[in-house]
């Protein structure tokens, strides 16, 4: 059998999963950006036969599992074509790459590409989480300075985090606590819509990785982040400060069941959830990263997440690729 992984060359998350494959399993890493190095990608249809996908001239048959990981997102200026053709070439490359995402309908996808795209919408996530029974903090996503001012004024203290997945050049943005008394550039929201959310005081912060119906719960944390003038409330900052820690933990059965239900309702086979447990023992849903990072949790806690992903990719019986086509 074949397992196809769509990702950037050198992705360190691939070998830990591949080591669990049996000797009759062929791993094929498709790095769409390498088409510019001549690693070709083709789709062929005939009047009578099934669709055929080939990579570097080899037909990809007997594909049991497809893992959509973290391929490079190319930008037009980086393409090795004349400047007048860069946007054109990028558009063609994107169209070809997108074709890959609707192939292999009988394979297990971790996860369906289009389900990942849909699930990255925070508004959709929070509404779904609430409907399933998770507790969700008061949240405002907006480009409206007036609504933002009112939200912050009403709560007194809240956290703010960017909607953009990419950071500005030369700097990073974390979830940050703000107070109503602090002068802030609310007019800047028209060019920078963000998420405002009630500030929770955590007794524990949880990173919960779910693969199918297997739940791997970790408590995460670190020391106080020290950034002058910026009250960071984000455990990712602890990694850069060298104080990050993670350890295996337990969580209520009902919360685990809700996580699995959330994935099923989203058409996902994988999710990396972030929760806060407050000092009253109440668990708050913050977000689900539909294609989130997990290897650092396995490396730190020893929980067998890579084995679970490998197991899912090689079990055809779990096939549920929806090919739903559009985010």
């Amino acid at each position: 059998m074949r397992i196809v992984v769509v990702t950037a060359t050198g992705d360190v998350s691939v070998p830990p999963v591949a080591q669990h494959f049996t000797s009759d399993t062929e791993l094929v890493v498709v790095d769409p950006a390498r088409t510019f190095d001549g690693q070709s990608l083709s789709f062929r249809l005939t009047e009578t036969g099934p669709a055929v996908v080939s990579h570097c001239g080899t037909e990809l048959a007997d594909v049991h599992g497809v893992w959509y990981r973290k391929p490079l997102v190319l930008r037009a200026p980086s393409l090795p074509v004349p400047a007048d053709y860069q946007e054109y070439a990028l558009n063609g490359w994107e169209a070809l790459t997108r074709c890959l995402m609707s192939q292999f309908p009988d394979a297990v996808w971790v996860s369906d590409y289009f389900a990942i795209q849909r699930s990255q919408c925070k508004a959709r996530q929070l509404a779904l989480a609430k409907s399933i029974g998770f507790s969700v903090p008061d949240t405002l996503m907006t480009s409206d300075p007036r609504q933002a001012r009112e939200f912050v004024q009403r709560l007194g203290t809240c956290v703010v985090k960017p909607l953009a997945a990419r950071s500005p050049k030369g700097s990073v943005l974390y979830t940050t606590r703000i107070t109503a008394g602090r002068p802030l550039n609310f007019d800047g929201l028209i060019a920078d819509p963000v998420i405002f959310q009630a500030c929770l005081e955590p007794a524990r912060e949880l990173r919960v990785t779910v693969v199918g119906d297997e739940v791997f719960a970790a408590e995460v944390g670190g020391g106080e982040e020290a950034f002058p003038g910026v009250d960071v409330r984000d455990w990712r900052a602890n990694a850069g400060q060298g104080t990050f820690w993670a350890r295996e933990t337990s969580m209520p059965d009902q919360l685990q069941a809700h996580c699995v239900k959330f994935l099923q309702a989203s058409g996902l086979n994988f999710g990396a959830f972030d929760f806060i447990e407050d000092h009253n023992g109440k668990y708050w849903f913050l977000e689900c990263n539909p294609n989130g990072q997990w290897l650092f949790i396995e490396d730190t806690t020893g929980m067998p997440i890579s084995a679970a992903i490998a197991g899912m990719l090689t079990r055809r019986t779990l096939a549920n690729h929806t090919t739903s086509e559009q985010p």
Binding site: A8, L72, V73, S167, N185, R236, G242, Q293, F296, T300
Partner: protein
């Protein structure tokens, strides 16, 4: 058109301020090794 200063600009942290010495912290090293560095690469998604 007049340039707009983004809301989050006042809350941005210089990238070099968050890259401290992490060799003595195995969990932090694991995080840095296994997640996508959003400051230097352009992979799908982020370090979430």
């Amino acid at each position: 058109m007049q340039q707009i200063v983004p809301f989050m600009a006042a809350l941005a942290i210089p990238a070099d301020a968050v890259v401290a010495e992490i060799a003595s912290c195995p969990a932090a090293a694991a995080f840095s090794r296994t997640t996508i560095d959003v400051k230097t690469t352009d992979n799908e998604g982020s370090d979430d």
